[in-house]
């Protein structure tokens, strides 16, 4: 693994981040949007871990940040899904285009 430069790992995470973003922009199903967000968060995690390992191995800042991100992602997902379920009860749909009563 010594031969793989940091930038390559970063490229992967960047690509993953924007793949996630693409998903967020285009999926009309709220749950899949949530999945896209998870991908984005994961890509950031890769960044943190890679930076910590490659550049600043003295402290564990990046590692801990990644751990906390994972935790928070979970909490966020939980609340989001609760909200989506409630929305589903009210709207009978989880298509994001159906939930556009509030506008202009």
């Amino acid at each position: 693994m010594n031969t793989i430069p940091l930038s390559h790992i970063l490229m992967v995470s960047t690509a993953l981040f924007f793949i996630g973003m693409y998903g967020l922009f285009t999926r009309r199903n709220m749950i899949t949007m949530l999945m896209a967000i998870e991908l984005m968060l994961n890509s950031v995690n890769i960044n943190f871990v890679a930076f910590n390992k490659y550049l600043y191995p003295d402290k564990l800042d990046g590692m801990f940040f990644a751990i906390f991100i994972i935790t928070i992602a979970a909490a966020e997902a939980a609340v989001a899904i609760a909200i989506i379920i409630n929305l589903y009860r009210n709207h009978q749909s989880i298509d994001v285009e159906d939930a556009t009563e509030l506008k202009f």
Partner: protein
């Protein structure tokens, strides 16, 4: 190019392919599965980077928790076999433009800033060390964030219960978050 490098590229390819499929597949259940693969791939990447603890957390929380949660909620809200509707063409065009711009722009900046850096020093993390630091109040201690996150989880749990619990018994109450 040695084996490690080959493994890295394989894993990366897997992550990206699975991710791409996860956000493009027309069937929601397949999407979820591709997401699962992508997350597992990321765990593999962590293993490859020799940060086993993170990899483990990744598998436990994401694969074991979030994806399961998502799949449950899919069952709750949707017939899994149905194809998902497509967004409008303009939305897709703009999204692609935005994403391509983002990818290349960020990639360019990153490449410019971190040119060909490789590992300079050995980096080993023991689980014990992580645990000690996590609950330490001294220098480099993470007790405060740890407690804050626990409050967050408590609040999230309360929120989920209130929202999801309506007349009927709630099914999707969060089962996963690890309490302290």
């Amino acid at each position: 190019m040695n084996a490690s490098a080959v493994i890295f590229y394989v894993i990366s390819l897997g992550i990206l392919t699975a991710g791409l499929l996860a956000v493009t597949s027309r069937k929601i259940f397949r999407s979820a599965i591709w997401l699962l693969f992508s997350l597992v791939g990321i765990a593999a990447l962590y293993f490859w980077m020799q940060v086993e603890f993170i990899a483990a957390v990744q598998i436990i929380v994401y694969v074991g928790g979030i994806v399961v949660l998502i799949i449950f909620s899919i069952f709750l809200t949707q017939q899994s076999g149905k194809e998902m509707p497509q967004p409008s063409v303009t939305r897709i065009i703009f999204s692609i433009l935005a994403v391509l711009f983002g990818t290349f722009f960020t990639g360019y900046l990153v490449n410019q800033y971190f040119p060909n850096r490789t590992v300079s020093r050995p980096f080993t993390v023991s689980v014990a060390e992580i645990g000690t630091q996590m609950l330490s109040t001294t220098e480099h201690g993470y007790i405060l964030p740890f407690e804050v996150v626990s409050m967050l989880l408590l609040a999230a749990m309360i929120g989920c219960i209130v929202i999801a619990m309506k007349n009927t018994k709630n099914i999707s109450a969060p089962q996963n978050p690890p309490q302290h």
